[in-house]
């Protein structure tokens, strides 16, 4: 079969373009928050997990310390460990292949692979989405960083408003149903109560503890909050008729 005729490769490519493009907003926000070009690139090349990258620069932009930023980014990356376990079980990589595969284990590559039934297609989907996003995400991060540098005063361009919208956009796909809204409300309240009392950046960690405790002590869906930012199968999957979210819940 020709590679481009593979449904998984097609899905992987379209997810790559949609996800890679918003690297522009990461690059622009990072440079507006005072990160140098190479610091910005280090995030996209080495951290390579959109949510964690935005979290780190978001904490620093709000006046938080490096250690608070690192902690927020690390906690937000925990779900990638779960994805790694799922992809290890699904794709069964051998030997050295696990090291590069781990690096591109993110929401979208996992969701692309999980949406396929055939093992070869799962593998093609994972690698197409993972490598495609990695390449485009880094190219567009560089474009955004250079553009952000050229803009001048970030506030005049509303880049602080862009950060607010970006975090809301990352949160949005995970707010399906009553439970995630309740968790979000508790986290928002904890944040607002904590802001006057603890140093900048720490309210985010307080909210993480509150939300983690809710997950620990309550019973509910085991994959709550594990939705990709860009759903590879927004219109349902040909073989199951369910969107990624519904399929994950099975």
């Amino acid at each position: 079969m020709k590679l481009l005729e593979s449904p998984a490769v097609k899905v992987g490519l379209s997810v790559s373009i949609a996800t890679g493009l918003y690297g522009i907003s990461f690059g622009a926000l990072a440079s507006a928050s005072g990160f140098s070009f190479w610091q910005t690139m280090a995030f996209s090349l080495l951290m390579f997990s959109g949510g964690s990258q935005f979290a780190f620069i978001g904490v620093v932009a709000g006046g938080g310390s490096g250690i608070a930023a690192m902690t927020a980014a690390a906690l937000l990356g925990l779900r990638n460990g779960i994805y790694g376990m799922q992809m290890n079980a699904l794709l069964r990589p051998r030997g050295w292949l696990r090291y590069p595969q781990a690096h591109i284990t993110i929401d979208e590559s996992t969701a692309t692979a999980s949406g396929q039934r055939n093992p070869d297609e799962q593998r093609r989907g994972f690698w197409t989405a993972g490598l495609g996003i990695f390449v485009l995400w880094n190219i567009f991060t560089a474009v955004g960083a250079l553009a952000g540098d050229a803009l001048g005063d970030p506030k005049q361009w509303g880049l602080d408003g862009a950060a607010v919208a970006a975090f809301l956009g990352l949160l949005w796909p995970r707010l399906k149903g009553r439970e995630p809204w309740a968790i979000a409300a508790a986290a928002a309240l904890a944040t607002i109560v904590a802001v006057p009392f603890v140093p900048a950046g720490v309210p985010i960690l307080v909210a993480a503890v509150v939300a983690g405790a809710i997950g620990w002590f309550s019973h509910g869906r085991s994959d709550e909050g594990m939705e990709p930012d860009v759903d590879p199968y927004p219109h349902g999957h040909p073989s199951t008729g369910a969107s990624s979210r519904e399929r994950n819940a099975e």
Binding site: M47, G66, M70, P93, G158, A165, F167, V195, M226
Partner: protein, 103 residues
Amino acid sequence: MNLWLWILIACGLAYLTKLSGYFVPAKLLRSPRMMRVAGTMTIGLLTSLTVVNAVASGQSLAFDARLGALAAGAVALWLRAPFLVVVIVGSAAAAGLRLLGWH
């Protein structure tokens, strides 16, 4: 230089977290409780980051043009706009409100 250090540690932790899924025995990570905590924490962190960026100004709360960005972003998301459009809408709302004199 200090910031570089935290960036590199955070990058290292991000990779080790991903890698752990491939090497730590599945039994340890597969517990439904661990998966739930990772998921609910993701919601909590992203909510908190949204709120902090919208209303926190150091250690005080400020209600300024960023709230307009929050509302505009929500409307764009509700209309199913793609991520990049949502970000641009948020930025335009904040910049526009400032031009109108609401800082």
